[in-house]
């Protein structure tokens, strides 16, 4: 797999060389992305960034900095005004939203099958893949429940299972853990990290939570207020698998401090 060359225009932090090669996971190249909405609002300004296949990247930034728009451009839901997002044409991408976005009239297992259904996966295969994904996220035994019978954390697990069952090369996560309580969030972060290490997809996570970004990622991208620019790219050197105890180490606190400091700098740029 060809590694895209780092672009000189932004922070020179390159994809980490020690990242295990993950067959199937897609690299992404964001080339001079800008987005101006019809209302005249400039959401993004010249985003240049390369993501290696299998990397976990988090994007943090103030509210309204266009990070969700960036994610939607990568997803193909929004067209950039200028620039391009290069990724393999045949790559399967799955999107996980802040609200679990489940179909309330479908059972848990039928919800887990939804994306495969839309992508034309044959029915018998859908069933086994959904069951497997539900088991991975700890929802085995709830197949016949309905979403309203699940807790917020379980709904998010189902949303993750639905995406995982698609066996995506690229996982796009738009603040998926913002709406769950803090204890559940920690547990889900650990699970998400394990799932990523196991499944080997490329992950792009948008979050407000600096700790979450550092805990999960290879690199954290800090964006400025609108129009969104990349202020800084911060490498996270901790090896995987990461234990929950990592969160209470001095090195972790130092790094989250760095990210927070970079976020605060936005006014001086």
């Amino acid at each position: 797999m060809r590694k895209p060359p780092p672009l000189a225009a932004v922070d020179p932090a390159a994809p980490p060389p020690n990242l295990a090669k993950r067959p199937g996971a897609v690299p992404i190249a964001l080339q001079g992305l800008s987005k101006q909405f019809g209302t005249g609002v400039q959401a993004l300004d010249t985003i240049n960034f390369d993501i290696a296949g299998g990397e976990f990247i988090s994007i943090v930034g103030p509210s309204g900095c266009g990070k969700s728009t960036l994610l939607r451009i990568v997803a193909g839901l929004v067209e950039p005004t200028t620039g391009a997002c290069e990724r393999a044409r045949n790559a399967t991408a799955a999107f996980v939203f802040q609200d679990a976005a489940l179909l309330p009239w479908r059972t848990v297992s039928r919800n887990a099958e939804l994306l495969m259904e839309l992508e034309g996966v044959p029915a018998p295969e859908r069933g086994s893949r959904a069951a497997e994904a539900l088991k991975l996220v700890g929802l085995a035994g709830f197949e016949r429940s309905y979403p309203h019978q699940l807790s917020g954390g379980m709904r998010m697990r189902l949303s993750l299972a639905r995406a995982l069952a698609l066996r995506p090369d690229l996982m796009l996560l738009d603040e998926p853990l913002a709406a769950v309580d803090e204890l559940t969030r920690d547990v889900l972060q650990e699970e998400l990290s394990q799932l990523w290490q196991m499944a080997g997809f490329t992950a792009l996570l948008v979050t407000h939570n600096v700790h979450e970004a550092v805990y999960l990622s290879n690199r954290v991208v800090v964006m400025s207020a609108r129009p969104g620019r990349i202020l800084k790219v911060i490498q996270v050197p901790f090896p995987f698998p990461r234990s929950p105890e990592l969160r209470s180490t001095a090195a972790f606190a130092k790094l989250t401090g760095d990210v927070s400091a970079a976020l605060r700098q936005r006014d001086h740029i």
């Binding site: 939607r72 009239w105 992508e119 309905y146």
Partner: protein, 272 residues
């Protein structure tokens, strides 16, 4: 120990069931008594104005076959009008929901359909479709159509934006999105419209029968009501009005039950 706890609980449940059923039963008994008292005091000997409960019951028994036949005729007409309204209403809402321009162009006329008093256009309908069942069905259809269009359209438009994005991400066609996302999502709102129209369709059928009148003596409840009024047979008139009311109630209940069955797993409106 467990027994001493569970027994009062079972007793409490029976008590609560009684306390929900008792008040309406008491009201019914009171109303019947009041009606009876009126009929033997103020309206004594004026049964053509207010027949007593006994006379109405007698009228039921004496004209059982006629009333049954009339009820069945009205039921058939109302049901045909209602089912056509559902098919047509959902189809129109589905088409309007596909484009803002379409909706903006045609929705005002759908509203107009509701504001035209159906009693006023009924004679016109009869002029076009003749003095027969078809006119009655069409009038029932027109009166039940708007709530179905309106509520279905509301439901089809209120699909969650996130879900629309999710479906868009996987290149879902309009038709598949409609079947798998918009239509099931619109169901609760659609059922609300269907419930309103269930009662309306019976009203429409009876209004239609009023207009086509006693042209044929074997007509539905509306025809029989006019007929009984002409003969000053007020007890029969009462019996037929009660039947018409029950018919609307049964219609409504069947649709409510269907809605409950369809939505019980997932929507608050069907929660017990």
């Amino acid at each position: 120990m467990a027994q001493t706890i569970s027994l009062p609980q079972a007793g409490a449940r029976a008590k609560s069931a009684l306390s929900t059923a008792l008040p309406p039963i008491l009201v019914a008994l009171l109303a019947l008594s009041f009606w009876y008292l009126l009929s033997i005091t103020v309206y004594a000997g004026k049964g053509y104005l207010l027949p007593g409960p006994r006379e109405v019951a007698d009228a039921f028994v004496e004209n059982g076959a006629t009333i049954m036949a009339a009820t069945l005729t009205t039921l058939k007409e109302a049901m045909l009008g209602y089912l056509t309204a559902i098919g047509l209403g959902v189809l129109i809402a589905a088409i309007l929901s596909q484009s803002r321009v379409l909706e903006r162009s045609f929705y005002p006329y759908a509203v107009l359909l509701q504001t035209v008093p159906v009693v006023a256009i009924a004679p016109l309908i009869v002029l076009w479709f003749g003095y027969n069942d078809l006119s009655v069905i069409v009038i029932s259809l027109i009166i039940s159509l708007f709530p179905i269009i309106n509520n279905t359209l509301l439901g089809l438009r209120s699909t969650s934006r996130t879900l629309v994005e999710l479906f868009a991400m996987h290149h879902t066609s309009r038709i598949i999105s409609f079947w798998k996302l918009r239509l099931p999502g619109a169901l609760p709102s659609m059922m609300a419209g269907l419930k309103i129209s269930a009662g309306l369709s019976v009203i429409g059928a009876i209004v239609g029968e009023f207009i086509i009148g006693s042209g044929n003596s074997q007509g539905g409840l509306g025809v029989q009501i006019i007929f009984a009024q002409g003969r000053m047979y007020t007890a029969l008139l009462f019996a037929e009005v009660i039947c018409a009311t029950l018919l609307g109630f049964v219609f409504f209940s069947v649709v409510s039950l269907l809605g409950h069955f369809l939505l019980r797993h997932w929507h608050e409106s069907a929660a017990d």
